[in-house]
Each structure stands twice: as C-alpha cells, then as structure tokens.
C-alpha cells in the first residue's frame, strides 16, 4: 500500500482518497468511520463561528445517477462545540483536515486559530460555497479577497493552509495564483457548481433555498479542467475534487495535477466499501502505468508527448 501514500504540503496521507468536506463530517463518529473504511484522510464539515442549522429541507435533489444538487446551507454545531467531534475522530486514528468558513478575513483567522487547537493536520478554507448568503462564493470569487483571507489565516496559524476554490468563475487559475501568493500551502478544487432545479408540476424551485450546488459525475469534467489549469499556474500541491467515483476518475485527477483527491457524492451509492475499492483500483492503475510512487503520477498527463 506504500505506493498509494501521498504528501500534501508536508502532511502525509496513507492514500490519496480523502473524505470531502460536508460529507459524513458533521460528527466525529462519522469521520472515524470513514477512517476505518479506508479513507486516507478526512476533511471536516465546514465549521463556522456560531451554531448554524442550515437551510430547511428539501436540501438535496438527485438528478439521475450523474448529479446531485444540494443546498445544505452550512449547518454546523459551531467551532466551540465541534472540537469534541475532532477529538473523537483523532482518538480513533483519523488524519483530520479542518474545514472552516467565515464572513471575512478576521472571522477566518479566528476560526483558524481555534481549529488549530484541535490537532488537525491542515486547514481547508471553504472560500467557495456557492449558496451561502454573505459567505462562500461571495468571498471566493474575488482574487483580492482570497488574498486577504489566506494571508490573515497564514498569519494566525502554523498549520498548512489549503484554499478551496469555486468553479463559478471565469478564471480559477487567477484565484489559485492569488491564494498561492498569499501563502496558501495547497489548493483544493473544486467545490460545487451553481445550479437550480425546478419542479415543473408545482413550478417551484425544488430546494428550499432555491439555488444549490451541483456535484457528482456531471462536474468531473469541470473539476478536471480546473485542476489542469491550476497545475499550470501554481507550484503548490492540488487536492482534486469533483465527481470522483472510480479509481480511473481519481487517476485522471492525479495525472491532471492533483496530489490527493476528495470523494463526496459517490459515497451515497458507494458507502463503506468505496474507499477500499478506490485504493485497490488505483494501486493497480499506478502499477499498470509503471509508477512506483504516487508522486510520479502527479501531473503526468501534462508531460505526455
């Protein structure tokens, strides 16, 4: 299994398959379960300063087997209460990345400091949730604000900082550059893509919040394009996210430039067995292509002639 281990900004994960933020991550028990299931690491639900219920139901809409629209609205117990969840996950051996969201650079920095206390191995800044008013893509779409937030967090903590970017932009490369220049140690991409589902019978948007974020296989080509572009623009490692459900999907992200990947929506259908299947399949793919370490595969597609 050593072939599968990977490093993201100084942090080693036993395999590159991380639990994506917002999936199973509201409780420490679920994070621990993902670890037992074989996740290389687990990213927490995005945590804010205050207890937040999120949007009312309906919060998800399944679109065939190829896509999911969600507007959870960042429910979370709040940083203060969440520390105990992380402690539980860490006690069971999980390598935990703490995801946080805030309304401005100061809030991010304060949260980052609190999150650092919990013993997470890295911070992921959710700069990109497309459906939270005043938060999320309102922050993440503007390189100047990305710079400000990342810089403030870097000044506040010693942990590696991953900037999670939105695909709802014309130039994700520019956002990645801004993050890198501000000191981000890694780039996570992508978050969900803004979308809407309308019920033709009642003529209402299906999700209570209206707009939602698209995830699942439908966004894999979008995520791959983003990772490819980011790889061309920055030197820091990339964590690839979006529509990964097979070992091949993950391999494509790696050769496009990702050093690790996060798995989200696919866990709905894949359940407990998915992490094991992904690792076993990727191990075979790396071997098939003659890569003796995962690192050799990272960005390999850029080098094919």
């Amino acid at each position: 299994m050593d072939r599968l281990s990977t490093e993201v900004a100084g942090v080693r994960f036993r395999n590159p398959f991380l639990l994506a933020s917002g999936i199973w991550g509201e409780t420490g028990a679920a994070l621990a379960r993902a670890h037992r299931d074989g996740a290389g690491g687990v990213v927490t639900k995005s945590i804010g300063s205050a207890t937040r219920e999120g949007y009312p139901n309906p919060t998800v809409e399944q679109l065939g087997s190829w896509g999911l629209l969600n507007a959870m609205g960042l429910p979370n117990p709040g940083m203060e209460h969440y520390a105990a969840e992380i402690a539980l996950a860490r006690k069971e051996g999980a390598t935990v990345v703490g995801s946080i969201f805030g309304g401005d650079a100061k809030e991010f920095a304060t949260l980052a400091r609190a999150m650092e206390q919990t013993g997470v191995v890295a911070l992921e800044l959710n700069l990109s949730c497309p459906h939270a008013k005043g938060y999320g893509s309102e922050i993440g779409r503007d390189p100047a604000i990305v710079t400000e937030v990342v810089r403030a967090v870097k000044q506040a903590v010693r942990l590696p900082v991953w900037a999670k970017l939105t695909p709802n932009t014309h130039d994700i490369g520019a956002l990645a550059e801004a993050a890198e220049q501000a000191g981000a140690d890694a780039i996570s991409a992508i978050n969900t893509v803004r979308g809407l589902a309308i019920d033709p019978e009642t003529m209402r948007p299906v999700l209570a919040h209206g707009f939602g974020g698209l995830s699942g296989p439908a966004i894999k080509p979008i995520g791959l394009a983003c990772v490819w572009q980011i790889y061309d623009r920055v030197k820091v490692p990339i964590v690839g996210i979006g529509g990964i459900s097979t070992p091949e999907d993950a391999f494509e992200y790696l050769i496009a430039g990702a050093s690790a990947v996060e798995v989200g929506t696919a866990l709905s259908a894949g359940g407990d067995a998915l992490f094991g299947t992904l690792s076993a399949g990727l191990e075979r793919l790396l071997e098939h292509h003659g890569f003796s370490t995962l690192a050799e595969a990272v960005g390999a597609s850029h080098r094919v002639r």
Partner: protein, 259 residues
C-alpha cells in the same frame, strides 16, 4: 428524482394522526421510509404505513410541528413530493414475532406485521398510546394478530400504564424469534431490557433528523451509524453499544442534545 403524487385518500386515524394514501410505484420493504415534500414547505421523513405493491402506498402522520400539521390538513387531490424508499427494513424471517408499538411508531410496524402474517408467521402485538383514541391501527392489527394487547397511559383502554409493562408477560408466555419495536427511545430501551434475559433479539426503528436521506450529510448521525442508510431498523446489539441511544440526538445544526 422526486415524484409528485396526488393524495388519493385521507383517513383520520386518531385525533392527532392522519393517513395519506397515494400511488407511488417504487417497491418498498416493511419498515422503509420516504422523504415527503410539502411544496412550498418543508420535507420530512415518514415511514410507509402502507407499502404493498399494487395498492396505494400510505404514510401516517402525527402532528408534531408545522410540517406534520400541514400534512394532516391536506385534502384528496393535493400534491406532495415523494422520494425513496430509503433505509433498511424489519427482518423478513421469524416464525413468531412480538410487535411492540408506541404512538405513531406503529406506522412503521403495521406493514411489517402484515408482511410477517402474510408469510405465515404468528404475530403478537403490544400496542400503547396516551389514551384509547390515540391507539393507532388497533383494528388493522387485530385482523392479523395472534394476540393483541393494549395499554394506555390514562387507562382509558387496556392496561393502565406503559406498553412496556405488557412486554414482559407476553415474552414469558411463549418463545419468540424476535421483537420488533418502534416508539419513544425510552420505550424501546425498556423493551430491550425485557427481552435480554430471554435472549430474544430486538429490532428497533430509530428516528434522527433527516436531510439528504441518501447517506451524505451526516444529519442523521447515531454513533457511527447513519439512520437513513444503516437504519432506521437497528438490532439491540447495535443500539446497546451506543452512548446516544435513549440519551442524545443531534439538532438541525449537528449539536448533540438530549433526546
């Protein structure tokens, strides 16, 4: 993937509970639940209280807050959105089963009891409610039950007290393959305590906040389990190992709060 259905029949079961029947073709196993969308309002989980193929499916709603109230006020012809069914189900085996239902919990149990009866098992039933008028599906279950015993908190019918008081004697009177239960957690944990010395396995249906219902969002966390996917039916072995069972649940925000 949400199907809009027309309410075909509305049955007032008790002062606080109403059954809505509707056609929804997806097959369902006894104990599974659906997510019910009230357009313009919320979406909530409801056990299928009628699940047979061919006949209209049904949910039986107890008024808890605004959405459940809204549901009980719907009329024939009104539309609701259904997705699912989700989750696991009560066992499909056992020759003699004791069904212990409290309040609206009987909604999930009735189709399971009927399915067991239909395949030839003997089903005994212990049914509890606050008061006689709130006894859900008493007549429906009497049709299939070998033995049906009733309790009410106010003594207006059957045993005066909690349904759990019926369980001990019933378990002692015959050899059961399993106990199936749904109701308040404190009730279910007492049922388990009663069954334990006799080594009769207990299967209890649990409730936690449901948002996605498809094993993603973690809203329905119960220890290491997700009620929407690993449940709603759990064995006593699973439940007894849980710090939260009977004690804690999660708020809409994922905060751990007392049950």
């Amino acid at each position: 993937m949400r199907t809009l259905v027309r309410v075909e029949e509305v049955v007032r079961e008790t002062p606080s509970m109403v059954t809505l029947r509707f056609s929804y073709p997806a097959p369902a196993l006894p104990g599974q639940f659906v997510m019910v969308w009230v357009p313009g309002d919320d979406e909530v989980p409801m056990s299928l209280s009628y699940r047979e193929d061919g006949s209209p499916k049904g949910i039986t709603v107890k008024v808890m807050g605004s959405t459940s109230r809204h549901l009980t006020e719907l009329k024939v012809g009104d539309r609701i959105g259904i997705r699912g069914p989700y989750g696991n189900h009560f066992p499909l085996d056992g020759n003699r089963v004791l069904v212990v239902g409290g309040g609206s919990g009987t909604a999930a149990l009735a189709p399971a009891a009927e399915a067991a009866h239909a395949r030839g098992a003997r089903v005994d039933v212990a049914l509890g409610a606050v008061t006689a008028a709130e006894l859900l599906f008493r007549d429906r279950l009497r049709r299939i039950a070998g033995d049906l015993q009733v309790s009410t908190d106010d003594g207006s019918e059957g045993h005066h007290g909690f349904v759990t008081a019926l369980v001990g004697p019933m378990l002692a009177s015959a050899r059961y393959d399993a106990v199936w239960t749904c109701g308040p957690e404190i009730m279910m944990s007492k049922v388990m305590a009663a069954a334990k010395p006799l080594s009769v396995p207990v299967f209890g249906s649990m409730e936690r906040i449901m948002k996605c219902a498809i094993n993603l969002c973690d809203a329905c966390s119960l220890g290491p389990y997700h009620v929407c996917a690993d449940g709603p039916v759990f064995t006593h072995v699973q439940l007894e190992g849980l710090e939260d069972f009977g004690r804690y649940k999660r708020s809409m925000a994922g905060l751990r709060i007392p049950v």
